[in-house]
């Protein structure tokens, strides 16, 4: 039994406590490291000027002779990909290497036209970073970040018994981000990938799409894929032998694979003298089980060789400085800003952050949209309009925020109309519905409100209406005067009905209270 000291618990103690309390495998420690391959969000490929492509494009349409490894072609490094790698390195607090270089990793497969993949094996572009994840004090250490090429995609058609090769993806830039074996549970692994994903999106380095791909037959369509190293050991014992599970393309699959692997390795170790053989394993999406792909002995020798064409990649200090100065806001910084500047609740801040920041939209991402709305407005009011009203309507229509057709200026004008009392809240919701139904209209929200007769008329005589209401409902007026405050709503409802909702309910309420108090006499 571990005796905790009186001072705040140390990291080790916290760790130990967490370990002892994992009811799924009491007494066991799980050690996880993750290699993430994120497709770089760049218009052109890493070493050729052919365009990158998304899902669903016609096969073999974005291919240059270099991508097909035609003899005589040479690589030219895409500096845009380097810039995005630098942003990623800065976001992960890594040490950018002023000199890095490229190496060839050799293996023969039909989805690798050159017979080698250009990667950064010996000297990666960045080393020694870290990333904080929720519900954990110590950060996850990042071992290295390297630039490399994606492969082509090969699909097997069982009917014709032929393999088809699509070179659209061949040579697309990837960021390989490697952690130290710092993760201790499937939940931490999931949290790490989610934080990484949000960060890559926020800085524009990658789409970070994982889940989109999980319904496809192919296991390698997503722009974010993970290889996960898992080992288990009894607490207090040295680390176990790790197994690598390849090509996990959703957080759900990754967590399922880790859980399966922990149970499998525990079972192996529980047998007498049993050991876990070092293996590379795959994950079956249907059975949620991992399976052996190859043993350590069968591991290929990749015959790494420095690429003789690409030389040294020098990163000048000025370039690092410039990248630091032009970094987009990181999600964890945005979160603090939403909480502190706009006083949003944690839940509301996370809702906004999850709306896909950094994704392309006519008006920037959701955060930028919200920032613009907040200018000279009450953040909580505009949050309500943006999330509950606008996003609610979009979701009802099975759309996401990325599909939002309304510029922030229009939603802002709508919020202002309601806030100034020019239209009522009820009318505001009606107006929003109309705006979404015809977003291309050239009319301003005010013009629309006017043509829909939603504007609260200046000529509306609230005092007269309220007096009429009191006269029409004498017993309710009496009840209010006798202290039954709730009955006011009934009188209010009479006014709203009479004005078909155009009256401002809070103003009406104010007038009614004043008139009823007057009636009480001195």
């Amino acid at each position: 039994m571990l005796i905790l000291p009186c001072r705040p618990p140390t990291r080790l103690a916290l760790l130990a406590r967490r370990l002892f309390h994992d009811q799924r495998w009491p007494g066991w420690q799980v050690v996880i490291g993750i290699e993430t391959h994120a497709q770089i969000h760049s218009r052109q490929k890493l070493f050729s000027n052919s365009l990158t492509s998304g899902l669903g494009e016609a096969p073999n349409t974005h291919v240059s002779p270099f991508d097909a490894a035609f003899p005589g072609t040479l690589p030219i490094l895409n500096q845009n990909c380097v810039d995005l790698a630098l942003r990623t390195a800065i976001a992960l607090n890594s040490k950018i290497q002023t000199r890095s270089s490229f190496d060839r990793k050799h293996y023969f497969y039909s989805d690798l036209p050159a017979g080698y993949q250009i990667t950064q094996h010996y000297t990666p572009i960045a080393l020694e970073g870290h990333l904080h994840i929720p519900n954990r004090d110590s950060p996850i250490r990042i071992k290295q970040i390297q630039l490399e090429q994606d492969t082509a995609k090969s699909t097997f058609d069982p009917h014709t018994r032929t393999s088809n090769i699509d070179l659209n993806r061949a040579g697309t830039g990837l960021l390989e981000i490697v952690t130290e074996p710092d993760l201790r549970s499937p939940e931490e692994a999931g949290a790490y990938v989610r934080v990484l994903q949000a960060m890559l999106r926020a800085i524009g380095a990658s789409d970070g799409n994982m889940e989109a791909a999980s319904t496809h037959l192919s296991t390698s369509d997503g722009s974010l894929r993970c290889d996960v190293n898992v080992s288990v050991n009894l607490v207090g014992q040295p680390s176990g032998t790790r197994c690598e599970i390849k090509n996990l393309n959703s957080v759900k699959f990754m967590q399922a694979a880790i859980i399966f692997e922990v149970h499998r390795q525990r079972a192996l170790l529980s047998e007498q003298d049993a050991i876990v053989p070092q293996e590379t394993r795959g994950f079956n999406h249907d059975t949620f089980e991992t399976f052996k792909m190859r043993s350590k002995e069968e591991a290929p020798d990749y015959r790494y060789m420095p690429d003789p064409n690409l030389g040294v990649l020098f990163i000048a200090p000025e370039r690092i400085k410039h990248t630091e100065q032009t970094m987009p806001e990181l999600p964890w910084v945005t979160r603090v800003r939403l909480l502190e500047t706009y006083k949003l609740s944690e839940q509301d801040a996370d809702t906004l952050l999850n709306l896909g920041s950094g994704q392309e939209h006519l008006d920037g991402g959701a955060i930028a949209y919200f920032d613009r709305l907040c200018k000279d407005r009450n953040p909580r009011v505009v949050f309500n309009w943006m999330v509950h009203e606008l996003l609610g309507r979009l979701n009802t229509a099975r759309l996401t925020f990325a599909d939002n057709p309304l510029p922030s200026s229009q939603l802002g004008e709508l919020a202002d109309l309601v806030d100034s009392g020019a239209i009522t809240g009820t009318s505001g919701k009606l107006l929003l519905r109309e705006m979404l139904a015809d977003p291309a209209s050239s009319k301003t929200p005010t013009e629309r409100a006017s043509s829909l007769s939603l504007l609260v008329h200046d000529g509306l005589d609230l005092d007269a209406l309220c007096a009429a209401a009191i006269a029409a409902l004498p017993s309710e007026a009496m009840a209010f005067r006798n202290g039954h405050k709730n009955v006011l709503n009934k009188i209010l409802g009479w006014v709203m009905r009479e004005t078909r909702g155009k009256a401002d309910s809070s103003q009406v309420r104010e007038r009614l209270v004043a008139l009823l108090r007057q009636g009480e006499g001195p």
Partner: protein
């Protein structure tokens, strides 16, 4: 598009420069007659042959390999484009060793190249002359120029593939500084060593072609920027401001005159050195101590890079694909690759791919590849110590080095000298690989034919990086003081 190269080219060739090539076998494809170019262009009326490792969009580019026998590239190499833009007439594609691997031009799917030279002592009709090698790997380029079938030829040079055949055939051959001439469209043998070379009957014509091709190319990541070229050229000019023979300091490296050097080579080279000294040049004995290790390092590095560069020839995306024998299952990816690569690569290529793949395995990498890289740095340092225009410029340094281009004159194609597979053929590169490892300009200039043998002998002029102006000027002196 797939073209029956053999049929197409035979037909064209038969109507062009008849008979001459029949006993040389320099051309593997002849271009259709070109439209006349404007007379004001610098290479107007200059006919240029192109080594078959350099891509042409209008002719197949085979690298003399069964693997690319029907391969027509979708683009012109930058050097071909530059020649066309300068008005040159690209007359055809020239035979070579498969993927540039060889020193005798006998490892070719198109058959060996026969040296067009005939010694004065040989009284047989020219077609029945003594059959000797044209040298390799750019044997076709050297032979075509020597036989007068074109005014100049493009070659490549990875470890001597331009200078050796130039020496055997009696023509001028320039391997420029690494990075000056674009490699875009040049089929890679070993990227860190490959250079486009130029062959011509005279230094002046060699320079003419070189000046056309000596421009930076954004498509080649190893292309030297304009500023580096300018800096190197002006440093060389400052070191030898008068450009006069009387002010020239010539280094004579004793490691390049080993005991094995044949007398047929040693005598004319010493005579040439003596003539230069008689005309005022200063001869300076120098030492390049890393030279004996250069050959081994070269074969490790060039084979390692070749094994990597040749991994793309799988038959999946282009080139030869050997189907499974009729009636058998298609098999695995690996068996498909093995079938194609076994059939597509010749014995010499297979040998070097295996050697190179071994040097890159995890167990051998440190002892072979990294060790060879260390030797390469030592070779570079040797050169840097002797040139007065170099970065380490010693005050008593030399402007150029002079040494024999080859250990011997052209070997016979048949008989005991035709040992094409033994280590002996690799040893022929011993004098040429150091400049390749160091990326320096090296020019082989033919010397007056003399002695018992009566076959051509070349002398090499090697200068600091980017000093082509100096190297070519010294080449002209060699022509003048005959």
């Amino acid at each position: 598009m797939r073209v029956d190269v053999a049929r197409l080219c035979t037909r064209r060739l038969s109507s062009w420069r008849p008979a001459k090539d029949a006993t040389v076998n320099a051309f593997v494809c002849a271009a259709p007659p070109a439209a006349p170019t404007p007379a004001h262009l610098p290479l107007h009326n200059v006919s240029v042959g192109v080594k078959d490792m350099i891509c042409t969009s209008d002719m197949p580019t085979t690298s003399s390999s069964a693997m690319l026998r029907d391969f027509t590239p979708p683009f012109d190499a930058t050097v071909v484009r530059l020649l066309r833009e300068a008005g040159a007439d690209i007359v055809g594609k020239l035979n070579c060793d498969e993927f540039g691997m060889g020193s005798l031009n006998v490892h070719s799917v198109h058959g060996p190249v026969v040296n067009p030279f005939q010694a004065a002592s040989d009284s047989a009709p020219w077609v029945d002359r003594e059959k000797r090698s044209a040298g390799g790997s750019s044997g076709g380029s050297a032979a075509a120029v020597a036989a007068g079938m074109c005014d100049a030829a493009l070659s490549t040079d990875t470890g001597g593939s331009t200078r050796l055949p130039a020496s055997y055939c009696g023509v001028v051959g320039l391997k420029p500084s690494y990075g000056l001439i674009s490699r875009w469209g040049v089929i890679s043998f070993a990227d860190s060593l490959d250079c486009v070379g130029i062959m011509a009957p005279s230094v002046a014509r060699t320079k003419h072609i070189f000046d056309t091709l000596n421009v930076p190319d954004p498509k080649d990541p190893t292309s030297a920027p304009e500023a580096a070229r300018h800096e190197a050229a002006s440093r060389a000019a400052r070191a030898w401001p008068s450009a006069a023979l009387s002010a020239l300091r010539i280094g004579v490296p004793h490691e390049y005159f080993p005991a094995e050097l044949s007398a047929a080579v040693a005598a004319p080279v010493r005579a040439a050195l003596a003539r230069l000294r008689a005309h005022g040049a200063t001869l300076v004995p120098v030492s390049l101590p890393a030279t004996p290790y250069a050959l081994g390092a070269y074969y490790v590095l060039s084979s390692a890079e070749a094994s990597s560069n040749l991994a793309r020839y799988s038959g999946v995306h282009f080139g030869l694909q050997v189907p499974a024998p009729a009636g058998t299952a298609p098999g695995t990816t690996a068996s498909t690759y093995a079938r194609t690569r076994t059939a597509g690569f010749g014995a010499e290529v297979q040998k070097r791919v295996l050697l190179g793949a071994y040097a890159l395995t995890a167990d051998a990498f440190d002892n072979y590849f990294l060790q060879a890289q260390r030797v390469r740095r030592l070779v570079r340092a040797d050169f840097a110590r002797v040139f007065r225009a170099g970065a380490d410029a010693p005050g008593d340094g030399v402007d150029v080095l002079l040494h024999p281009s080859a250990m011997r004159t052209a070997p016979r194609l048949h008989g005991s000298e035709a040992d094409t597979d033994g280590l002996d053929t690799y040893v022929q590169d011993v004098l040429t690989v150091p400049a390749s490892l160091a990326g320096l300009p090296a020019l082989s200039v033919p010397l007056p034919v003399e002695g018992d043998d009566g076959w051509p002998v070349g002398v090499s002029v090697v200068g600091p990086w980017g000093a082509e102006g100096v190297v070519l000027r010294v080449g002209e002196f060699l022509e003048e003081v005959r």
